[in-house]
Amino acid sequence: MSHETWQEQLRRGSLDLAILLTVSSGPRYGLAIIQHLEAFTDLVVTEGTIYPILGRLTREGLLDARWVEGEAPHPRKYYRLTPLGAKRLEHMTREWRAFAEKIARLIDAARRDDHAAH
């Protein structure tokens, strides 16, 4: 596997969690979600590909989508976390932290072994 493929898989695997985290504080519309992701991460490579993921998360019942008109010159589609989405987010966050800690421990151990060898 090339480094780019690995990076792409990592990015894809974490996008769902990142989107759920973005809307966990309150409803946001598509562009606001993208801007939030861009401000904190480099997960958004192509902005247009975020919308199909939002659609899938909505179909899976993790997000609730609603068009709002009159707030801006153009209608905005707002997404908010559903109770099912909140539960899934809790699980995903826990698993992500546990996973990251294990990998961090592995990296530390590898570095210690490397220092000991030299």
Partner: protein, 201 residues
């Protein structure tokens, strides 16, 4: 930034290509909703942008960040068609998803080819069962050098063709045909579920 007629045409052209591409894979109401959302994104970005140094450059940057319409459409169809096919198991969404994968990946192309062969064999057997009571002499099991090679229906029967089987062919062809169709359909669903898992993993 207020768009000129040229800028407006560029935006409408982008949305037109996106809509056309999405229509290939998705139902009309989903396409309308998706195009509306992308248009909302574009209008918002354009409204917030400054026209300096020039409108064309700014607009092209916004469109490039959004992604080419075909790529956006492909992302929509990848997310939507496979999910729908796996969730419902319905024939049309499944064919749509298989077609989408066939035209976008090499593995998908060969898988679609294999599934097409399965569906065709199933349909051929069922067709023989349907034709047999109407044209008993033209449908049956074809033998080559005494070995059965499969169901056949010929109009008229070609000279030298060894077409055998009485009416007992009907239940046999129906059973085999429906059996092959069910197995192919299950394989198709498993294949799409595998794709979905692969995408999510």
């Amino acid at each position: 930034m207020q768009l000129t007629d040229t800028g407006e045409s560029r935006v409408n052209g982008y949305l037109f290509v996106l809509e056309r591409s999405l229509k290939t894979f998705l139902p009309g109401d989903v396409v309308r909703d998706a195009v509306r959302e992308i248009e909302s994104h574009l209008r918002e970005r354009i409204a917030a942008a400054s026209a300096a140094p020039n409108e064309r450059e700014v607009l092209e940057k916004i469109l490039a960040e959004l992604g080419p319409p075909l790529r956006v459409a492909q992302a929509y169809s990848a997310e939507r068609t496979i999910d729908e096919a796996v969730a419902t198991g319905r024939f049309v969404p499944m064919i749509r998803a298989i077609w989408h994968l066939a035209i976008s990946t090499v593995v998908g192309f060969f898988a679609a080819l294999g599934l097409l062969v399965g569906y065709l064999i199933g349909v051929a057997w069922v067709a023989v069962a349907v034709i047999k009571p109407i044209f008993p002499e033209n449908a049956g099991i074809q033998f080559v050098h005494g070995i059965p090679v499969g169901p056949a229906a010929q109009f008229p029967v070609a000279p030298g063709t060894d077409l055998r089987g009485g009416y007992w062919v009907i239940p046999l062809a129906l059973t085999v045909g429906l059996g092959v169709l069910v197995v192919t359909q299950r394989c198709a669903r498993k294949y799409l579920a595998w794709w979905r898992e692969r995408r999510l993993s």
